[in-house]
Symmetry: C2
Subunit: 180 residues, 2 copies
């Protein structure tokens, strides 16, 4: 941030009174502009035969790789609504949201990711503009080597293990930057 | 938002290609400026005798009312770190974070609130600059009529009920605007 979104004057980094870190503060109107982590919300849409809906990404990052439907939460919606909307946008698919299943903290990119269990309601799905393909995968068909993101891999691994035991356990995982 | 934080030129609301809602877009550099919900994260610090640490607010909104330590999550930290930091700032209190206990969606103010169970590690606490008082309350001493926010009330109600059954169950609650 270089300019004040409210008055257009230059901002400077400074420490507001009683604050514990520097903020972008307007040099003219003195508005303090906070920057905060963003929520990414998605779903694990399961069809009645146990297969899971994945999308192959038509956009960067990770163009061409497979992911669960997920994206940035918008103002004015709930986390469950965000998961259903992203699934509709990316896969033209309708789901019923079940329990919150996984939360990932990625502090190095200022993100918190939430994934919900969900029931896929019909087979009338197709790629949205951000997807190249949308497909159902059984546990033995998951494209493990071409998954887009670590939280997607971890979520699917836990999901299939939990499903075998018939007990889905919410997990809260903190991630550090990938090493490669 | 009236001006572009990147170049200082005026922004205008317009619908980017393939998007589903209007955004603030710079009229000169064309940067799209997204606005997203914020995370509020807090803790339910329990001392070894079962009492819970509450803070009486020294700031608006709800100046003078009681709350659990909680506040806006910052960039570069995890949700658990945010809960511990807020507890240190508001109550000068050290805690050990346990499980995530409650999530509240407040879409009418673009917030998602998370509350963790936590163990208060010592009795060396005192009001931070945002608190008038910090005190431990047993279940029968909670100031129910002067609690600051609905999620605080709901969380404490569930917490004491769950503690009696010795089973803490994560809850995901969507709130609509208060009616009064």
């Amino acid at each position: 941030m270089k300019f004040c979104p409210e008055c257009g004057a230059p901002v400077a980094l400074s420490l507001p009174q009683d604050d514990h870190r520097e903020r972008h503060v307007c040099t003219v109107c003195n508005t303090i502009h906070y920057q905060n982590p963003k929520l990414i919300v998605g779903a694990i849409p399961e069809w009645q035969d146990g297969r899971i809906l994945l999308c192959r990404r038509a956009i960067e990052p990770r163009h061409g790789l497979w992911t669960l439907p997920a994206g940035f939460m918008e103002n004015g919606e709930t986390t469950a609504q965000a998961a259903a909307r992203e699934t509709l946008e990316e896969a033209n698919a309708r789901i019923e949201i079940l329990d919150l299943y996984a939360m990932y903290n990625l502090p190095y990119i200022n993100q918190v990711q939430l994934l919900y269990r969900a029931t896929l309601l019909d087979l009338d799905f197709s790629p949205g503009v951000e997807s190249l393909e949308v497909e159902l995968f059984g546990e033995n068909e998951i494209p493990w080597d071409t998954l887009a993101f670590r939280p997607i891999r971890y979520t699917l691994e836990h999901y299939f293990a939990d499903r075998k035991r018939d007990e889905f356990i919410f997990r809260n995982t903190d991630l550090t930057p990938p090493t490669r």
